[in-house]
């Protein structure tokens, strides 16, 4: 009885040691990868902060219409970019580390997430470009409308901005395959709604403004004929 108990205990101990022995290298690799990822993330964050500050990224970002106020404690766009890069590298390190653990579930999860990363990145790029384009076009429309003497210039500007943003969000969501059918319907309804709203606003609310603008064009006021140069 005692011998059997000792044997069973020995076998259990051997199994535990074997398990620990097979798990330990993976865990060490996991910790090493996490440590390396952490160091790389720290370096990238510091490098980006320094480089972007030197390039006066905050001021330029303001000029492009990108504001980080409320997103970071300092409200700095350079810090925001550095933080995004930091967390991206850290998460990638964590996912890579999970594959090293050789555990079925975490590995499967990590692989599927890693396969999804390119789509996520592409969607993120679409969103960033869409946001930049929306702000740029909104500003261009605002300035042109003001120079044409349109009293509701901001209305047009905001309309253009949201149209471009809606298109960008729809494209990004479509890219990562979230609710394609629902999205298509929602996009068509929202886009159509925005266009209809603008048409109604111009047709009913701003009818006088449009009429005045057209009559101004047809009348060709005297100071428009000035040779300014």
């Amino acid at each position: 009885m005692a011998d059997e108990f000792n044997r069973a205990l020995g076998l259990a101990g051997t199994r535990i040691v074997d398990s620990v022995g097979s798990f330990l290298p993976g865990a060490l690799v996991f910790l090493s990868l996490l440590l390396v990822a952490f160091i790389v993330a720290l370096l990238i964050r510091a490098g980006l902060r320094r480089g972007l500050t030197r390039l006066e990224f905050d001021r330029r970002a303001e000029g492009w219409g990108i504001s980080a106020s409320g997103l970071t404690p300092s409200g700095s766009a350079a810090s925001l970019v550095a933080s995004i890069a930091y967390w991206t590298v850290l998460i990638l390190g964590l996912l890579l580390g999970l594959t090293a653990l050789d555990a079925a579930l975490p590995t499967q999860f990590a692989v599927s997430v890693l396969q999804y990363v390119p789509h996520l990145l592409a969607a993120l790029v679409i969103l960033v470009i869409g946001n930049l384009a929306a702000r740029f076009l909104a500003r261009a429309v605002l300035i042109s409308a003001v120079n044409l003497g349109v009293q509701y210039a901001r209305l047009f500007s905001v309309g253009v901005k949201w149209l471009v943003l809606i298109v960008a969000v729809a494209m990004a969501l479509d890219h990562i395959g979230i609710g394609r059918t629902v999205l298509l319907l929602a996009f068509a309804i929202t886009f159509g709604g925005v266009v209809l709203t603008i048409a109604l606003a111009v047709g009913l609310g701003a009818r006088d403004v449009v009429a005045r603008a057209l009559s101004r064009q047809l009348r060709a006021p005297t100071d428009d004929k000035l040779d300014h140069v």
Partner: protein, 417 residues
């Protein structure tokens, strides 16, 4: 009879583009001017067309076909020229001017004069008035001074002239004029620079040639030529925003290029104001709708203030806010304030605080405000009082030059204040 095989003393270039209505009279005036005022001196006339499709070239050939002293020059053309509409209306103008200057140098001409084929009031007197100082007085650059109603050329009077005068100490009242005369030395200097290939050259070349002469220690003069009337093209096809973006953009780009020169320049470059047989004719004044200009300024303040804050310090924004409540007839924008606004926009352009085209176009409401203020001051004034008003404004730009240099050197330091 001048020897037609000898090196010409004077070369006159006539730039044309869709000028069928005016080119005949303009070309005859130039040729007659050369014949009447430079008898016995070898001369050449260059016809430089940049792609007219209205029969301009055929008209010139018909009038002067076979004449040994008339040379047709075909400048290189770019496909991009068809897309850009410059405010002066001549696509690829820089290439055309380069062809004129190069040909003049190749012909070993001592003086080169340039005219615009679209001008209706061009006379033979202009040829003599522009070229004589180059030949007789050894000057390098002669710029015209045209009589203009008070509001005509307001952008030149209120911005381009004061800025160039403040930066280089050169009092050339119409630095963007299409007509000018230059010596072979200055033509060679221009051709050696890289300004021909720079972005924006096709629109800004007139200003750049003037500033290159001003920055290069050349002897300059200004000669009154009377009234300049031209056919419809160019600026009339563009809105004010596009015109202002081209002209002011060219000026600001030039400020970047010559920053070292104007930072050091403190002396006043003497500009000879030459007499001219042209009578001091004052053309009828065009009307300006001050109410509409002030309304444009107010709309701009309301909607574009957020963009202006990228380049204008808070103090300036506060001063603009104070100006909002003035009635249109009494609307005034102080000269110092307008000078600082222009300089701040120049710095914003240099720093790319906002997309450059957006920044330049957002200046339109501020310019409208200044024009309303200027119109209120010169509406009932005599022409001499109007000229004095422009000179007072230019002095304000000179007084604010230290502000410009300080902000140019330390833009971040002054951003907050």
């Amino acid at each position: 009879m001048p020897d037609e095989t000898a090196d010409p003393a004077v070369v006159a270039g006539l730039l044309t583009y869709q000028d069928a209505a005016t080119v005949g009279a303009a070309a005859r005036a130039v040729r007659e001017g050369l014949a009447a005022h430079f008898a016995g001196v070898p001369t050449r006339m260059l016809i430089v067309d940049v792609g007219s499709t209205d029969g301009t070239v055929a008209l010139v050939r018909e009038a002067f076909g076979g004449a040994a002293d008339v040379i047709e020059v075909a400048p290189h053309r770019s496909a991009a020229d068809l897309l850009d509409v410059p405010y002066h209306g001549i696509p690829g103008k820089a290439r055309a001017l380069r062809a004129v200057l190069s040909t003049a140098l190749d012909l070993k001409a001592r003086a080169c004069i340039v005219f615009d084929g679209g001008v209706r009031t061009l006379t033979g007197e202009w040829v003599a008035s522009l070229a004589r100082p180059i030949l007789d007085d050894q000057l390098d650059f002669v710029s015209p001074f045209f009589s203009r109603p008070p509001f005509e050329g307001a952008l030149t009077k209120g911005l381009v002239y004061p800025v160039i005068r403040a930066l280089y100490g050169v009092r050339l009242h119409q630095p963007a004029a299409a007509e000018f005369a230059c010596s072979s030395g200055l033509a060679g200097h221009w051709l050696r620079t890289d300004l021909w290939e720079r972005s924006g050259a096709q629109a800004g070349i007139d200003i750049w040639l003037t500033t290159a002469a001003a920055a290069g220690d050349f002897r300059v003069a200004e000669v009154p030529l009377g009234v300049r009337a031209h056919g419809t093209r160019g600026e009339e096809a563009l809105d004010l925003g596009a015109t202002l973006a081209q002209v002011v953009g060219a000026l600001f780009a030039d400020m970047e290029r010559h920053a070292r020169v104007w930072h050091r320049s403190q002396t006043r470059v003497p500009v000879r104001r030459l007499p001219s047989p042209a009578e001091a004719v004052r053309p009828a004044a065009a009307a300006v709708d001050a109410d509409r200009l002030v309304e444009a300024f107010r709309l701009g303040y309301r909607e574009l203030r957020d963009i202006w804050t990228f380049v204008l310090p808070p103090r300036t924004i506060v001063e603009l806010k104070k100006a909002l409540d003035q009635p249109a007839r009494e609307f005034r924008l102080a000269d110092d304030l307008w000078a600082r606004i222009v300089y701040d926009f120049a710095i914003g352009y240099r720093m790319r605080a906002v997309a450059r085209d957006h920044l330049l176009r957002s200046l339109v409401p501020l310019y409208s405000g200044w024009l309303a203020s200027y119109a209120g001051q010169v509406r009932d004034a005599s022409p001499e009082e109007g000229d004095r008003r422009v000179e007072a404004l230019a002095e304000a730009f000179e007084n604010q030059k230290a502000y410009l240099i300080a902000r140019w050197r330390w833009p971040e330091r002054l951003r907050i204040g």
